[in-house]
Symmetry: C2
Subunit: 190 residues, 2 copies
DNA sequence: CGGAATCTTGAAAGTGTTCAAATCAAGTGG
DNA sequence: CCACTTGATTTGAACACTTTCAAGATTCCG
């Protein structure tokens, strides 16, 4: 099995014996995927929670104007899923796609409860991860309201200058909720 | 102790013996608070996770124009906290205030780990609650991008007609991220 | 009743979008 | 390695949505 980042990330938050790790391996499904491959498409049920070992994923949906609207990016050491679809096992409105060649590790929804029963530490680990993700979402709502789109753009590039180099402009525009044309204008201005 | 809603909510998601409940009680801090009382103010560390037994809370911050910007409401059976401040025990940028007389139950941050060690089911319960809250936050990002403010207003009043009756217009405007003046205009139009 | 908070109205200004077209960059097959 | 085709970015003008400001009307609460 080849998911060193996941194991060390788990061990940062909960104790895991070597035996636990061996047991865990029987529940993990690692995969290498190519740029533009999909892990989830609209209409499908989100069947797993995905950990990014290496590479970059995006989550997006098709908005009412027929355009791709990106809602999340996931880099190394992040979990990504449509948690509404995953929790309720109902069809998703989202797509999850690799924007670089990537190595991911999946925990399947139908095995998750059994895994958590055998390794209760994982219940704690994911409680911490979900609380962290929700905390970030709360802050995101704040920034979204508090700053104009121009300010949000400047904030984003100052916080994640390296990441901005990894993705095309139109994806950044989509994530920030503005048009590629307007982003282009903002870049020109400063 | 008087928190029937909390106990039945817990039992919907995890098993809890009567002994567990008795133990739990020693960690819960129930409180009655009056309309306009604060559970958290900007600059304070968020010291507890709050469950609403009865009544209604709001969470807001003071934006860069000096106005109150509401980010969350919490009704019966919802948990509310600034999870960034709660997790990291750092000063909050938010206020939490009752907008009706309310009965709440608090779990203090400094007792939470000890409580979860004694009742590991709670780790699972809060993993489910946080995952649910994060799932809702993901959908909220989608609605926020997908609909104009006018459409978001119409969607909100169609989804929560009873709740709209419980709060003043200016709070709804604040939550939806539009001015009271514009909301007034939308109401007039239909 | 009186004062404060809330809600409405209308005009002017700003922010961001749309549309159409031109330019630039990149991947592919020959 | 070039030529071609497609995808990505830029430009500018017209337009749409939402805010701001100032004032007046209304409602709530002690």
């Amino acid at each position: 099995m080849n998911c060193p980042n996941l194991i060390s990330h788990l061990r940062k938050h909960v104790p895991l014996s070597d035996g636990d790790v061996a047991l865990l391996y029987t529940y993990l499904r690692p995969a290498s995927i190519k740029k533009k491959d999909f892990l989830l498409k609209e209409g499908q049920v989100c069947k797993a929670n995905y950990f990014v070992e290496k590479g970059c994923l995006r989550m997006f949906y098709i908005n009412n104007k027929g355009m791709e609207q990106i809602t999340h990016f996931a880099l190394e050491n992040w979990w990504l899923a449509d948690y509404m679809s995953l929790s309720l096992q109902q069809p998703s409105q989202f797509f999850i796609q690799a924007i670089e060649d990537a190595t991911i590790v999946a925990i399947e929804a139908h095995q998750q409860d059994e895994l958590f029963r055998k390794l209760p530490q994982l219940e704690r680990y994911f409680r911490i991860m979900m609380q962290r993700a929700y905390a970030a979402a709360q802050m995101r709502v704040k920034y979204h309201h508090d700053y104009s789109k121009e300010e949000n753009y400047k904030l984003f590039i100052s916080l994640f200058p390296a990441f901005v180099q990894r993705i095309p402009q139109y994806m950044l525009a989509s994530y920030l909720g503005l048009t590629p044309e307007y982003l282009s204008e903002l870049r020109r201005k400063g």
